[in-house]
């Protein structure tokens, strides 16, 4: 065979390969990174981010929260009804659905899933929110497509909880791998990668009747290092990044405008609080400052939130109005506004409490110079910037702020065990829309009630009131009523400022321009919430991808 002939043949093969990938428009392998090895592949035990990612991509759910509209949508249940004061839910199930291994789906599978999930010996984190009252769940399979679940007591936000209950098969011989979601786990290299293949039996179809998902596979790289993740994204080796730091985001936006997505304020907050624990090993006069509403509000008023957003977050944040982000469409109390920077106002509040300025130094009634330390975790550059900006802001009202950065374990020890700290600056990641998941923060007896955890009895009248309102919202299923209670909680928190909310970070993500149908949102999973309708565009014939 002549050399020329060989070359022609080779280029022919090349073209053929090329055409075949282009023709499989709905195919393609999407790649992105997860930060750690999933602790489990069992959807009922998922508790960490990576395990939840696997559950999201492989599980089939009765009801799904649409991450974009923040409303519940029917999936394996075509309809549902909550009754009996939030104690009972009945589902009408989708017909002709089969598991990935071909086993048909029916109400028995839902019954089996709920029985397994609610078994106390399983210790499923997913099951905890269902357990408002001790007792058994009554499961009543009415027909292969109808099932009624009756819980021993009212369950707050019952229907939304099913967003994290992946249905497992009662009958399949391959129960642990058979799923109802868009993908199935195909390969797992411990510590390095997980490959998910398309579920050929997935029930969902697009508007044109074409079976979903479009993607052939999802390749998850286990990669802890965020810089490497970004590098690989820039090289085109991965196509999605769910969250990016503001600096990195701006650099990406400068180079690849179309890949950087700012979805606006997220649910995440940055906040500070004063230690109000009665037994804390700090001087009594300082405890008195920290228990004073005027003091806390004055500090809040002295802080320039707009500058924080502009400088520390390069504009990718919004001043926080309170405990609930405006991104939470339903639950946010729209009457609340971020605290305005108001130095004279702050000084007036302080004067009301007997504080006075003595040559640029604020002193309390007894002449103590006002100085306190704020602890935060070391290594978080943005948070350190926030602290230094606060240092400057508070100097304007004569307060000396000492910034102390600690390694995370010592920080946690101080805020939850020794209580040997004065103020703390931390971020809070919010995952759920519904206030029922925030009981562990707002009840005065709760352990995450950070300013004064696990109080035997509420220390202040406003904490009594918050306790009452939180219990009230939990004991009704009427969302309008619940919203009224919860709006009131938000107002009290804004007024008393036990947590001084600073900013809501924007949800910053990166999506390769080759990914089609992507619409990043603030809720997790930000970039692939609509995984079943994502696909990769055909590689550009002139680009390097053709080689």
């Amino acid at each position: 065979m002549s050399r020329r002939m060989q070359i022609v043949l080779a280029s022919f093969c090349f073209c053929w390969l090329f055409v075949s990938t282009a023709a499989a428009q709905s195919g393609g392998e999407l790649r992105f990174s997860i930060q750690s090895e999933p602790k489990t592949f069992d959807p009922m035990l998922a508790d960490d981010d990576s395990s939840e990612t696997i559950r999201y991509l492989t599980g089939g759910f009765l009801i799904r929260l649409n991450r974009q509209t923040q409303t519940l949508e029917p999936e394996l249940a075509t309809s549902w009804k909550v009754s009996n004061g939030g104690q009972t839910i009945s589902f009408e199930l989708r017909r002709n659905v089969v598991f990935s291994d071909g086993t048909p789906f029916s109400a028995d599978d839902v019954a089996y899933t709920m029985r397994t999930l609610m078994d106390p010996n399983l210790h499923s984190p997913t099951a905890d929110p269902f357990r408002s009252v001790e007792g058994q769940v009554k499961i009543d399979v009415k027909s292969p497509t109808a099932i009624v679940l009756q819980f021993p007591g009212p369950v707050a936000n019952l229907e939304e909880l099913f967003d994290s209950v992946a249905i497992v098969s009662a009958k399949s011989p391959h129960r642990d791998v058979a799923g109802l979601g868009p993908f199935v786990v195909a390969e797992h290299k411990a510590g390095s990668s997980i490959v998910l293949r398309r579920n050929p039996n997935y029930w969902k179809r697009d508007a044109a009747g074409k079976p979903l998902p479009y993607l052939d596979a999802v390749h998850l790289d286990i990669q802890q290092n965020r810089d490497l993740e970004m590098l690989r994204f820039r090289r085109g080796e991965i196509q999605l990044i769910n969250t990016i730091a503001p600096d990195a985001f701006d650099r990406l936006a400068a180079d690849m405008r179309s890949a950087a997505h700012d979805a606006g304020p997220s649910f995440d907050t940055e906040q500070m609080w004063f230690n109000q624990v009665a037994s804390a090993p700090i001087p009594d006069y300082k405890k008195a400052w920290f228990r004073s509403q005027n003091f806390r509000r004055a500090v809040s008023q002295a802080i320039n939130r707009a500058d924080m957003c502009r400088i520390a977050f390069a504009g990718h944040a919004q001043p926080a109005a309170g405990m609930i982000s405006p991104a939470n469409h339903f639950w946010f109390n729209a009457k609340l506004r971020p605290e305005e920077t108001d130095v004279p106002g702050a000084l007036k509040r302080l004067a009301d409490d007997g504080f006075h300025l003595d040559k640029d130094v604020l002193r309390d009634r007894d002449g103590h110079a006002v100085e306190f330390s704020i602890i935060t975790n070391a290594g978080n550059k943005v948070r350190e910037r926030l602290a230094v900006m606060m240092q400057d802001d508070l100097a304007r009202i004569g307060i000396r702020l000492n910034v102390v950065t600690l390694d995370f374990p010592s920080l946690i020890d101080r805020i939850s065990h020794s209580f040997n700290y004065e103020a703390c600056l931390l971020g809070l990641v919010n995952v759920d829309l519904d206030p029922s998941t925030q009981m562990n923060v707002w009840l005065s007896s709760a352990s995450n009630h950070q300013w004064n955890p696990e109080e035997k009895t509420p220390a202040t009248p406003w904490e009594v009131e918050i306790d009452r309102l939180m219990h009230a919202q939990a004991s009704t299923t009427d969302n309008k009523q619940r919203k009224e209670y919860f709006d009131r909680v938000q107002e009290i928190v804004a007024d008393q400022a036990p947590f001084i909310y600073l900013v809501n970070k924007n949800a910053l993500s990166a999506v390769s321009p080759t990914v089609r149908n992507a619409a990043p949102v603030v809720l997790r999973p930000q970039t692939y919430w609509n995984i079943d309708s994502l696909y990769l565009a055909a590689p550009d014939p002139s680009g390097r991808h053709g080689e």
């Binding site: 650099r251 100085e371 306190f372 230094v388 400057d392 102390v404």
Partner: protein, 269 residues
């Protein structure tokens, strides 16, 4: 040859006086945040631009140099003195004392001193003024940083103990304290000063690393360490090369010290 030395001396003299009189030389207080112009490029108002909070980088460099140039040598002196005492007496006295001292040195070399520092920092009170924190940081570095120097000095001292001139001096009836003062120390002096000079940049960089762990100089006080942290972000530095100023200053000062010191060494030998 001596011209280079002269240049080094002049440079250091200028640096030191600029740094000592930073209060007059610096165009702005080191903590002042010009929030309208964060991350600014160099201009007449901000000779080296501003940092990510809008603080004047030139002023911060001056004050940061003051902290590091005064405290790193102090810490180096402290650690060299400890090393001289422990290593020197171990090597010179020999016997069981040497074994104990060397065991202590090895132990302190093998200690996970980062964790030790973390613990020490965790034990410190929270309301520490930035100036105190910087002194504490360098004092800790000085106290903990002696062990590798100690080993070098110990072997130097051992060689001196076994030398003929010490035997000769003993045979001449010199008293022990005179022996140490006049026979041993002058001969250890090159080793000691080498240890001293090499410790300075090590401590400056150690302080920078501690800063990453939250153990360094507390905000808003600048030091070369926390200024160097600004260089972590390579793409940003590439786009704004004037941010390299702190590292240029560090290299310049350390090499000037080395130049002057080397010359003295050559003269001595």
């Amino acid at each position: 040859m001596s011209r280079i030395r002269l240049v080094a001396i002049v440079f250091l003299a200028l640096t030191f006086s600029a740094v000592l009189f930073a209060d007059f030389v610096a165009p702005a207080p080191y903590a002042k945040q010009f929030r309208e112009v964060p991350n600014a490029a160099p201009s007449l108002k901000h000779l080296l631009g501003t940092d990510d909070l809008g603080r004047d980088s030139f002023s911060r460099l001056l004050y940061g140099s003051r902290v590091s140039l005064l405290l790193a040598p102090a810490a180096a002196l402290l650690s060299t003195l400890i090393a001289a005492f422990v290593g020197g007496s171990a090597g010179y006295l020999g016997g069981w004392f040497e074994r104990v001292a060397l065991a202590a040195t090895d132990l302190s070399l093998s200690l996970p001193w980062l964790f030790l520092l973390l613990t020490v920092r965790a034990l410190l009170p929270l309301n520490v003024a930035p100036v105190t924190s910087v002194v504490v940081t360098f004092a800790l570095l000085g106290v903990l940083g002696w062990s590798s120097s100690g080993r070098v000095i110990c072997s130097g001292a051992r060689a001196i103990r076994e030398s003929d001139f010490v035997l000769q001096a003993k045979a001449l009836g010199c008293a022990p304290h005179r022996l140490i003062l006049r026979q041993v120390l002058p001969n250890l002096q090159p080793v000691l000063s080498a240890q001293f000079w090499t410790s300075i940049p090590i401590f400056i960089i150690a302080e920078a690393n501690l800063g990453i762990l939250g153990l360094g100089v507390a905000e808003p006080l600048p030091s070369w360490g926390n200024l160097l942290r600004g260089l972590e972000n390579w793409p940003e530095v590439k786009a704004s090369p004037w941010k390299l100023a702190p590292i240029v200053a560090l290299i310049a000062v350390v090499s000037c010290f080395q130049l002057i010191f080397q010359k003295r060494e050559n003269l001595a030998s």
